[in-house]
């Protein structure tokens, strides 16, 4: 992770957290989902997985818009075998763009369109809160069933906020120490970002702040300890926080596994997350290292189209199927008012 991103992740960042970004659809709007794919580290295969998740959804007949939010390092178009599109997210705030659909470019896959990432604009890479909210609202208005966000590496507030505002947040890791460390840093930053955004902390806030120090006197070492302590000392706030963290829905993909031990890493991370952060990580599974993937990237063609017989394709489909089924169940419960 680069130094800028690291500095941004500190609790005392330049930007105040402000109100949390809201992304809940207005009542009566059609069924629509935002999925965000991130990961603490570059080069773990986020873009590739994003593209293939989107293609899987589109091939099943859903309309999908891919949005390259890897602000500053956008290359989703290359992964789909497209040239740089005429308009990109950079044009988002130009006065002649009324809605996001104008920035969508068709792809070679039916039902799948793309909003390319900004190429050079630092302005877009550091969106202020109000503009982030505006972008999120506009994303919700896109006429697609699924809006898939490819987030950049690192733990900048941009990345965290889009990740937290999405309906589904997916983390991609490699079975390597640096990648796992970065993923934990990402989850930790997201956890505290979320905590910071909770407005009803009130008098518990200074208590929370005092526990941020690793060597605090209360012996609170982990976020899970903090949740327990909050529930004890501030039962009302504690319960609300636990509910908010309980809705923390993070999914994990282990990419490029080469051995059985590699694929088991996901279960280890899940266990550790439960103990350390106190939430249930949803381990979607692992994708084996496959040289076809690298060939497909070199030929600038998406895997699911170029190599439909790759063993990775059914694995990706299974993961997508799992998420869709789970979200449909969740939606049903919400509609029933549960």
């Amino acid at each position: 992770m680069n130094k800028i991103a690291e500095r941004e992740a500190l609790p005392e960042g330049a930007e105040s957290a402000g109100a949390p970004l809201t992304s809940a659809p207005a009542p009566g709007t059609p069924y629509k989902q935002i999925w965000a794919i991130g990961g603490g580290k570059g080069g773990v295969g986020k873009t590739l997985i994003t593209a293939n998740f989107a293609i899987t959804l589109a091939k099943a007949g859903a309309s999908v818009t891919l949005v390259d939010l890897d602000l500053g390092g956008a290359n989703l178009h290359t992964c789909l075998g497209l040239e740089q599109t005429e308009r990109t997210l950079t044009d988002l705030f130009s006065p002649d763009v009324k809605n996001l659909s104008e920035l969508c470019s068709p792809t070679n896959v039916p039902n799948l369109s793309l909003i390319s990432g900004a190429q050079d604009s630092l302005n877009v890479a550091n969106l202020p809160h109000a503009q982030k909210q505006k972008l999120l609202n506009k994303l919700r208005q896109l006429p697609s069933d699924y809006i898939i966000l490819d987030l950049g590496a690192g733990t900048s507030y941009n990345t965290l906020d889009f990740f937290l505002a999405a309906d589904v947040g997916i983390l991609v890791v490699l079975p390597e120490p640096t990648s796992i460390e970065n993923a934990y840093r990402f989850i930790k930053s997201a956890f505290y970002r979320k905590l910071k955004n909770i407005e009803y902390l009130y008098d518990a806030r200074s208590f929370v702040d005092s526990t941020m120090n690793r060597k605090n006197e209360l012996g609170i070492r982990t976020p899970a300890d903090l949740l327990r302590a909050l529930e004890e000392q501030y039962p009302e706030v504690g319960t609300k926080v636990r509910n908010a963290i309980g809705r923390f829905d993070i999914k994990l993909v282990v990419n490029q596994s080469r051995t059985e031990t590699d694929s088991e890493v996901g279960f280890g991370v899940r266990n550790v997350c439960k103990k350390y952060f106190g939430f249930n990580l949803d381990y979607l599974g692992h994708l084996e290292y496959d040289s076809a993937v690298w060939q497909s990237v070199r030929r600038k063609r998406p895997l699911a189209i170029e190599f439909p017989s790759s063993p990775l394709v059914p694995n990706i489909q299974r993961m997508v199927g799992h998420i869709v089924a789970e979200q449909a169940e969740k939606l049903k419960r919400t509609e029933l008012g549960l």
Binding site: Y31, G61, D145, E232, E236, N243, G268, H322
Partner: protein, 271 residues
């Protein structure tokens, strides 16, 4: 997790109360691997000493849960009904459990790992046949039904996912807007309120007990708000979560609201 911060053995291994020995063994190996010295998963969040402590907890949990005698005693002393699996229930003639399991599985659109095809009770079972239940579920699906269904079908059996299925009871009952509103609000969740929801949803106490696998003693203590007869908070929370899941409620919300109530009761003077 209880007020004392101690996890139950089931939580330590991250398995459900009715996990069979095979699931427990897999979970044990995975948990051990997670905290081993050369594991990628733990070292950056837990130091050596903490990992060692967690490993000891895992060993302790496994030594009890892997031994059927010790497990039974542990379950009994913590109010968990004997850990017989659904499969065993079926073969021992516990058709109520088997029938609900079958219904739950067909609701989820997969056949599960057990075959109930030869169950003679199937024909005389009074609730709607699985096919009808499944088609009812489809009608409730969101507008973009076709691609959601196609995508759902892509999901094969979960690859090595741990833990067993959560059973839900689905039954048609008359909808009462007042009651729905109360459930939605989720205020003053007491054992009595849970019972009201259960009765509203036309689910009998036996059905719930079978699915929750808790003893009648604890079950009545829970519904009658006889706090002194309930086990430690950590276990009560587990019961309430499963209770709420069986009734298709928001189990996190219900459990949190109930635990608030329980804590107030337990810390109240004279409790």
């Amino acid at each position: 997790m209880g007020k004392d911060g101690k996890q139950s053995y089931y939580e330590v291994l991250d398995v459900s109360f009715n996990a069979n020995s095979e699931i427990i063994r897999t979970a044990y190996i995975r948990a051990k691997n997670a905290y081993n010295r050369d594991s990628l998963a733990a070292y950056s969040l837990f130091d050596k000493e903490e990992s060692k402590r967690i490993l000891n907890e895992i060993e302790e949990a496994y030594s009890v849960l892997s031994d059927s005698d010790k497990r039974r005693k542990y379950d009994e002393s913590h109010g968990i009904l004997s850990s017989e699996s659904v499969y065993e229930s079926y073969h021992r003639g516990n058709h109520a459990v088997a029938a609900f399991a079958r219904e739950a599985m067909s609701m989820e659109g997969d056949s599960g790992s057990f075959s109930f095809e030869d169950d003679p009770f199937r024909r005389s079972h009074s609730s709607p046949p699985p096919a009808a239940a499944a088609s009812a579920a489809v009608k409730e699906a969101p507008k973009a039904e076709s691609h959601v269904d196609r995508l759902k079908a892509l999901q094969n059996m979960d690859q090595g996912q741990l833990g067993s299925r959560n059973y839900q009871i689905s039954r048609t009952h008359e909808t009462n807007p007042d009651m729905e509103e109360r459930i939605k609000k989720c205020e003053n969740v007491t054992g009595a309120f849970l019972r009201t929801i259960r009765e509203y949803k036309k689910v009998s106490s036996d059905e719930i007990m079978n699915i929750l696998k808790i003893s009648k003693n604890y079950f009545t203590a829970l519904e009658e708000d006889d706090i002194s007869r309930l086990p430690a908070n950590v276990f009560v929370r587990g019961f309430v979560i499963q209770y709420a899941k069986a009734l298709k409620l928001d189990h996190e919300k219900i459990a949190n609201a109930y635990m608030d109530y329980l804590r107030t009761k337990r810390t109240a003077p004279g409790a």
